[in-house]
C-alpha cells in the first residue's frame, strides 16, 4: 500500500489483556472506517505466558504486515526478547512501556527506537476497577486516530455481559489513555493519525479460518468430519455451530484417517463434504484422497499449512506442504490443488474449490496457512458468488447405468443412494465403465485418461491466477506471499518501475497455456515462496516454460515475508 499505514505491536504477560486490547483496537478501527490486520504470536506455552498482538491499520484495505513497527507497546517486559525476531523497529519507532515495570531487558535498552515510559499502572489505579490494558487501548486509539465513540461502541459490545460498572471503568480507562497519548504526541512529536474515509461499504471482521468455513457453506457444504490440529482447528470450531444452522452437521472423528473417509461416505451419499487439517493430518489423508480421485467422489480438504517437517513449528506459517498436496497421492491421481491468497480469499478459494470438486467429481485440496488462518482482517463484505456445488447426477429409472461412462467431458453423472436403478459400487479398484472392477489395460488407460481429461479440459476462467500490472519483469507467487509481493510491486510502481504479478490460485491441474499467455513479454522472472527447498519453483519448472532469466526468493517460516525484502530483491534484478 502506498497510503499511510500504522503498525503496532502489543506485548505482555498472560493475563495482561494483550489480545483483548489488540482485538478491540482492530474492531474499533473498523467501526471508525479504517481497515486492518491483526496477527498473533505467543510463546510455546499452551495457555497464559507472554503474548503479542501485531496490528496494522490503514485507510485502505491492507492484508500483510509492514517492514517495521511504528509502535511497540509493552504492558510489561515478560519475555519480550522472545519476540525480538518478529519485532523489527527503526529509529523513528516508539517503544512505550509502563513506568511501574522495572528494568527493561537488553532487547529494549539496545533498541535503536525511541523509548518512552508512561504511567500505565498508575493511571489504572486512579480509576475504580481500572485496568492498564484499557489505558493502553485508549493510547493506541488516540495515536492511530481511532476516535472515542468507536472504541466505546466496541467496549459496549464486548463488555455487555460484564455489567455497567466494568463498562464504565473501561471507558474511563480508555479516555484516560487517550489523554496520556495526546500529551505524548506533543511531547515527542509523532503523528500517526490515519485518515478515515467515511460512509463506505459494510465491513467484515474475520480470520482466514472463519473465511474458509464460510466459503464452504456458501459453496453448499453440509457435512464435515474432522480431527483437531493447529492451526486448522478454528475452521472446524467455526463450522460446527454454523453447519448446524443450515441443516448440516460436523462429526469429530477419531483421527484424520477417519475424517477423510467419513467425508468420502458423506459425499457418496450426495452431500457436499469437507474436512480441514494441517501437514501431519494431510499426510495421513493421502491414501483416501486417492480413493476419492479414483472412485470420483468429490471431497475437499482444507490444509492450513504450518512449519514442517513432522511437528515442526505448529504455531507458525510456512508453505512447505506444497509438495505433498501436489504429489502425495499414490498412482496417477489427478486432483485439484488451489491456494488462498489472502484472508478474504480463503472464502472465495474454498467456495470455488467446492464448486470444482463437485463439478469434476474429484478431490480438491485448498492450501491456506497459519498466517492466513489465524490472523484477523477487516475487509469489505465480499460479493455473492455464483459458485456452488453442482454435481451431475442421474435421475431415477436410468437403464443400463454406467457410473464411469467415458463421456466427452470426462464427467459421468453420479447416482446418489436413494435413486432407483442407479445402484453401483464406488470402487478404489480400477473399473470398467459399468463400475465393475477391471484389471484390463484398456479400461485402465481409458479411466486414467478420463480422470485427467475432465480436469485438463475444464474451463477455469480467469480464476486460475490473479494477474496484475505489466512489465518485462514479473513475479510469480502463490498463497499468503501474494500480499507482500503485491505491496512490494506497488511501492516500486510509485517509484516508476513496472512489474507484473502472477499469483496462482489454481496450482493443479497446471494450465501451461494460461501461463504462457501470462508470461508474454516477460523477460525476467522472480519466484517468491515460503519454503526452504524451493518447492514452488521446482514445480513451476516441471510444468511451465519459464524465462531463462528466472530467480527464486525462497524463505522458510516462521518469520513472515515483509514487502521490503521483496522490494530489495526486485531492485537487485533491475
Amino acid at each position: 500500500m502506498t497510503s499511510k499505514t500504522v503498525s503496532i505491536a502489543i506485548t505482555g504477560a498472560g493475563g495482561a489483556g494483550v489480545m483483548t486490547a489488540g482485538q478491540m483496537l482492530l474492531d474499533a478501527a473498523a467501526k471508525a472506517g479504517l481497515y486492518g490486520l491483526m496477527t498473533r504470536s505467543s510463546g510455546p506455552q499452551i495457555r497464559g505466558g507472554e503474548a503479542a498482538a501485531f496490528i496494522r491499520l490503514s485507510s485502505d484495505p491492507i492484508d500483510c504486515p509492514d517492514d517495521y513497527f511504528d509502535v511497540l507497546f509493552c504492558f510489561d517486559w515478560m519475555n519480550v526478547d522472545r519476540f525480538a525476531a518478529e519485532l523489527p523497529l527503526r529509529t523513528d519507532s516508539v517503544i512505550i512501556g509502563d513506568e511501574a515495570a522495572k528494568n527493561p531487558p537488553e532487547m529494549i535498552t539496545a533498541s535503536v527506537a525511541r523509548q518512552v515510559m508512561v504511567p500505565l499502572s498508575e493511571a489504572a489505579k486512579e480509576i475504580e476497577g481500572g485496568r492498564p490494558n484499557m489505558i493502553g487501548l485508549g493510547m493506541l486509539g488516540e495515536l492511530a486516530g481511532v476516535p472515542l465513540d468507536a472504541l466505546q461502541a466496541i467496549l459496549e459490545k464486548v463488555l455487555k455481559r460484564k455489567g455497567q460498572a466494568a463498562l464504565d471503568a473501561s471507558i474511563a480507562g480508555v479516555e484516560k489513555g487517550m489523554q496520556v497519548a495526546t500529551d505524548l504526541e506533543s511531547k515527542i512529536g509523532i503523528d500517526l493519525h490515519l485518515e478515515r474515509k467515511e460512509n463506505q461499504q459494510t465491513r467484515w471482521s474475520l480470520t482466514g479460518n472463519e473465511a474458509a468455513g464460510m466459503g464452504a457453506l456458501r459453496g453448499g457444504v453440509r457435512f464435515c468430519a474432522a480431527y483437531p490440529i493447529t492451526p486448522a482447528t478454528e475452521v472446524l470450531e467455526w463450522l460446527a455451530p454454523n453447519l448446524e444452522k443450515v441443516g448440516g452437521t460436523l462429526v469429530q472423528a477419531e483421527d484424520e484417517l477417519a475424517s477423510v473417509n467419513m467425508i468420502i461416505g458423506g459425499s457418496f451419499g450426495g452431500v457436499p463434504s469437507i474436512t480441514a487439517t494441517a501437514g501431519p493430518g494431510l499426510a495421513l489423508m493421502t491414501e483416501a484422497l486417492g480413493l476419492a480421485v479414483s472412485a470420483e467422489i468429490p471431497i475437499v480438504v482444507i490444509d492450513v499449512m504450518r512449519g514442517g517437517p513432522s511437528t515442526g513449528i505448529p504455531t507458525k506459517s510456512e508453505q512447505s506442504d506444497l509438495n505433498i498436496a501436489l504429489h502425495g497421492l499414490h498412482g496417477d491421481a489427478p486432483h485439484i490443488v488451489t491456494a488462498a491468497q489472502s484472508i478474504s480469499d480463503c472464502l472465495f478459494t474454498t467456495q470455488w474449490t467446492v464448486h470444482l470438486a463437485e463439478a469434476l467429481q474429484t478431490a480438491g485440496i485448498v492450501l491456506s496457512d497459519q498466517s492466513l488462518g489465524q490472523s484477523r482482517n477487516i475487509i469489505d463484505k465480499p460479493a455473492d458468488l455464483a459458485f456452488v456445488a453442482k454435481r451431475e447426477v442421474v435421475e431415477a429409472g436410468v437403464e443400463d447405468y454406467k457410473r464411469y461412462a467415458l463421456s466427452d467431458s470426462g464427467v459421468s453423472p453420479m447416482a446418489i443412494p436413494g435413486t432407483p436403478g442407479g445402484e453401483y459400487v464406488a470402487d478404489g479398484l480400477e473399473t470398467a465403465e459399468n463400475a465393475r472392477p477391471s484389471s484390463s489395460a484398456e479400461d485402465h488407460y481409458a479411466q486414467l485418461d478420463k480422470r485427467q481429461r475432465k480436469l485438463s479440459q475444464f474451463d477455469y476462467g480467469q480464476h486460475w491466477a490473479e494477474i496484475e500490472g505489466e512489465g518485462e519483469l514479473a513475479v510469480v507467487t502463490f498463497g499468503s506471499v501474494t500480499a507482500p509481493v503485491r505491496e512490494a510491486i506497488q511501492r516500486l510502481e510509485s517509484e516508476g518501475q513496472k512489474i507484473k504479478m502472477i499469483s496462482m490460485r489454481l496450482l493443479s491441474p497446471a494450465l501451461p497455456d494460461k501461463m504462457d499467455e501470462a508470461l508474454v513479454g516477460v523477460k525476467k522472472l522472480l519466484v517468491v515462496e515460503q519454503t526452504h527447498s524451493k518447492q514452488f519453483y521446482r514445480y513451476l519448472r516441471s510444468e511451465f516454460d519459464l524465462p531463462k532469466d528466472t530467480t527464486v526468493l525462497a524463505k522458510p517460516g516462521p518469520l513472515p515475508f515483509r514487502p521490503g525484502e521483496i522490494v530489495n530483491t526486485l531492485k537487485e534484478l533491475g
Binding site: 472463519e210 443450515v246 448440516g248 467419513m262 461416505g265 463434504s273
Partner: protein, 278 residues
C-alpha cells in the same frame, strides 16, 4: 389410469449382482454373502435405500456382489466411510463389511470408536483368523502358536484379539456371533442386527479354505445358538470368560442413545454472514 401393480416381494436373489465372486471355491464368504442378501430380503429393504461399505480383503469384496449401493473403499476404513454415509444420509440402511485384518488390525481404532459412537448401522466381520487376500499372514484373531505364515514362522507369540469382548468393552449396543456354515442362522442374526437401533456388530466365523484349510473342521465344532448372553453386560462378559469362540447367537443387546445429529435448517446463510459485521 394404469392399475398400480402389486409389487412382488424381493427375494435374496434380487439383492445379488450378476457379478461372479473371485473367491476360492468353498470360501466361507459365499455363505455370508447369501446371509446378507437373505437378511435384506427378509426386511424388504428397497435396494436403492441400502448401501454396503467395505475396506479391502477377500471378504471386503462383498459390495460388488450385491445389487444395492456400495463403497469398496480402502483397507481398514470401511467403518469410517459407512459412518459418514449414515450420518449424512440417516434414512439409508448402511451395512459395513470386511475381514478380521481389515477391521481389527488396520481398522482397529475405528472399530473401538464405532462401538462407542453408536451410529445406527450394522458391521459384519468375516473372521477367518488370517489375511486371505495377501496370502496367509496372521491377523489379530490368529492363535499365537499358528506357524503357517512366512512372516511369523514361529507363531505370533501374541495373544489374539477377542472381537466380542472388545466390542462389549467399547460400548457396542448389539453383539453377536454367527457361522458361515449356517447361512440361515447368520441371515437371522444379521436381520436382527439391522433391526437394532444403534451400532450392531456381528462376527461371522468364515473359513479360509485356502490358507487355513483346517478351518473346514469348524462345521463340526461350532455350536449353533449356544451363546448365553442377553441384556446384561455382566452376563455377556461372564459368558466370554469361558467361551471357546465356537458358540453362536446374540451375546448382548441393549438400547443406548443413537448418534444422530439433528439436521434441520434453522437459519440462512445471510444470518451467519451478518455475524462478521461489526
Amino acid at each position: 389410469m394404469d392399475q398400480v401393480l402389486q409389487q412382488k416381494p424381493l427375494t435374496f436373489k434380487d439383492y445379488k449382482s450378476d457379478y461372479k465372486p473371485v473367491w476360492c471355491p468353498g470360501c466361507g464368504d459365499f455363505s455370508v454373502l447369501a446371509a446378507i442378501t437373505k437378511a435384506l430380503a427378509e426386511l424388504q429393504i428397497p435396494r436403492e435405500d441400502c448401501a454396503v461399505v467395505s475396506g479391502i480383503g477377500c471378504s471386503s469384496r462383498i459390495p460388488a456382489y450385491t445389487s444395492v449401493y456400495g463403497i469398496h473403499a480402502i483397507h481398514g476404513r470401511a467403518l469410517a466411510a459407512a459412518t459418514g454415509l449414515k450420518v449424512a444420509r440417516p434414512e439409508l440402511t448402511v451395512i459395513a463389511t470386511g475381514g478380521d485384518g481389515d477391521g481389527f488390525s488396520i481398522g482397529g481404532n475405528h472399530f473401538l470408536h464405532a462401538c462407542r459412537r453408536n451410529v445406527d448401522m450394522t458391521y459384519v466381520v468375516m473372521d477367518n483368523e488370517v489375511y486371505g487376500m495377501t496370502k496367509g499372514q496372521a491377523s489379530p484373531t490368529t492363535a499365537s502358536d499358528w506357524e503357517g505364515s512366512k512372516l511369523t514362522p514361529h507363531g505370533t507369540g501374541v495373544s489374539p484379539f477377542n472381537p466380542l469382548s472388545i466390542a462389549l468393552s467399547a460400548g457396542a449396543s448389539f453383539v453377536a456371533r454367527g457361522f458361515a456354515g449356517d447361512p440361515n442362522g447368520s441371515a437371522k442374526l444379521i436381520a436382527q442386527a439391522m433391526q437394532h437401533k444403534g451400532f450392531s456388530f456381528v462376527q461371522i466365523l468364515s473359513p479360509c479354505v485356502t490358507f487355513r484349510p483346517e478351518q473346514t473342521e469348524w462345521k463340526k465344532i461350532v455350536r449353533k445358538g449356544e451363546i448365553e448372553g442377553g441384556h446384561s453386560l455382566a452376563q455377556a462378559m461372564s459368558f466370554l470368560a469361558t467361551d471357546d469362540g465356537f458358540a453362536t447367537g446374540i451375546l448382548y443387546e441393549t438400547q443406548r442413545p443413537v448418534y444422530a445429529p439433528e439436521m434441520s435448517e434453522k437459519q440462512g446463510l445471510a444470518d451467519i454472514e451478518a455475524s462478521f459485521e461489526l
